[in-house]
Assembly symmetry: C2
Homo-oligomer: 215 residues x 2
Amino acid sequence: MNSSAADRAYAEVRGLILSGDASPGTPLREEALADIVGVSRTPIREALRRLEAELYAVRTRSGRLVVADWDVDDVAEMFALRAMLEGHAAARAAVRMTACELDQLKACNVDLEAAIAASEPDIAGFLAANRRFHDIVLRTSASVRLTTMLAGLVEQPIVRRTATRYDRSDLERSALEHGQLIQACAARDAEWARSVMTAHIRRALHAFRAASPSK
Amino acid sequence: MNSSAADRAYAEVRGLILSGDASPGTPLREEALADIVGVSRTPIREALRRLEAELYAVRTRSGRLVVADWDVDDVAEMFALRAMLEGHAAARAAVRMTACELDQLKACNVDLEAAIAASEPDIAGFLAANRRFHDIVLRTSASVRLTTMLAGLVEQPIVRRTATRYDRSDLERSALEHGQLIQACAARDAEWARSVMTAHIRRALHAFRAASPSK
DNA sequence: CCATCCATTTTTGTATACAATAGCGGCCAC
DNA sequence: GTGGCCGCTATTGTATACAAAAATGGATGG
C-alpha cells in the first residue's frame, strides 16, 4: 500500500530483525542497510527512527543502533500492556459495534475455526484470521491513539514464535475466546468485552511462555 | 541535555503547537520551520516524524502535515489511556520501590505542598514538582516500554491549560492523592498503588474538563 | 458565471556531499 | 608485556541538490 522507499526500508529492516536474521545486539548501520534495501541513507534513517521508537532497536551510548534484546520480562510486559490496551479497545468497540462489524467478526472467526479444523492446522490461515479479528476490534474502537500505540506491540511476540510449535488446544481456546468476545459485543457489554479480551491476551502470554524454547 | 539540531527542532515545533502559536489545522511546512528553527530540513523532518507519531500532527492525504485538532473525546481518551498506563506503572513501582526512591517521592510532595501553601499558589512550582513525582514513579516502574508509551501522553493536555485557572482545591487534592500513593508504595501494595494512580488521573480529567474554556 | 484543464509554483521525498565525532588499531615508552 | 597516546577510519548528524507529486492560479470554453 504505502510503497515509499522509507516504508519499504522499514518493512525490510523490521523483517530482518523479526526473522532473527539480524540477531539481538547486531549493529544496524545505515549505509549497510541502505545497500541491502537498495535506497539511500535518508529513508533508512527514517525507518530506523521508527524501529527505535517501537523498541525494535536500542541506541548504544552515542548514536549506534543495535537490534534490541527482549528478555522474558520484556515479553511479559509487552503482553501485559497489550492486555490492557486491547481490553480497552474491546470495551470501546463493544458499545460502538454495528451489525455489519459484528458480522465481520463472526466471519473472521469462521475462517479461524476452519483453519484449525483440519487434522494438520493451517497456522498461517489461523494467524491471518486472528490478525483480521483483532484489527476489526481495533478499528471499531475508533481511537486513533489506541491504534497507534498498539501498532508496534502486536507483531513483536508473534514472529519470534515461528520456529516454535503451536499447540492445538491453544488454537481452539483462541477460537472459543473470540466467540465470547462476539457475545460480549452483541450484548454491548463493554466490561464483559474488556474482561474477555484481557483474559484472551493473558492466556496467550502463558501459551507463549510454555512454547518458548528458552524458559 | 540532548541538544542536537533534531532535538531542538522537536522541542521548538512542539512548543509552537502546545503554546497555541500554531493552532489546529495550521500546516507544518518543512522549509518554513527550518527557517524558524534555524536548521536545515533534515532535522526538521525528523522532528515532524516524531510529532506525527505522537499525534501532535496529522497527515492530510498525501504528505502535508497539519497541527492536530484534539476534541473533547480525544482528550478524554488520552486521560483514560494515561490512567491505565500510569496505574500500571504505579503497580510496578510499588513492588520495586526502594527506601531511597520513597524518600525522593516524599521530598517531591513536600515541594508540591510548599508550592500550593502560599496565598497565591505557585503554579509553575506545582507543575514542576508534580512532573518530578510522576517521573520518579515511572522510572521506578523499570519498564522502558511503558516510559516510551507514556512520553507523548503526559505533556499534551497540560499545556493547553496554561490560560485556564487552576482551582486550589484541585491542587490540594493532588497533594493528597500523591500522599496516598506514597502510602501504597510504602506498603508495597501494587493494586492499591494502581487504584490510587488511576483515580488520580481520572480526577485530573474531570478537573481539566471543568476548567476547559469550551465545554 | 461556472467548470475544467493546463502551467506554474509550492512542497515533500530521495540522494548525495560534507562535517563532526566516536571507535579502533598501531606505536611507543616504561 | 602492558598501558597510554595518537592518527586513522568508520559511522552518524546535518546541509543541500535534485526529482516527483500535488496544490494553486489563471485562462478558456461552455
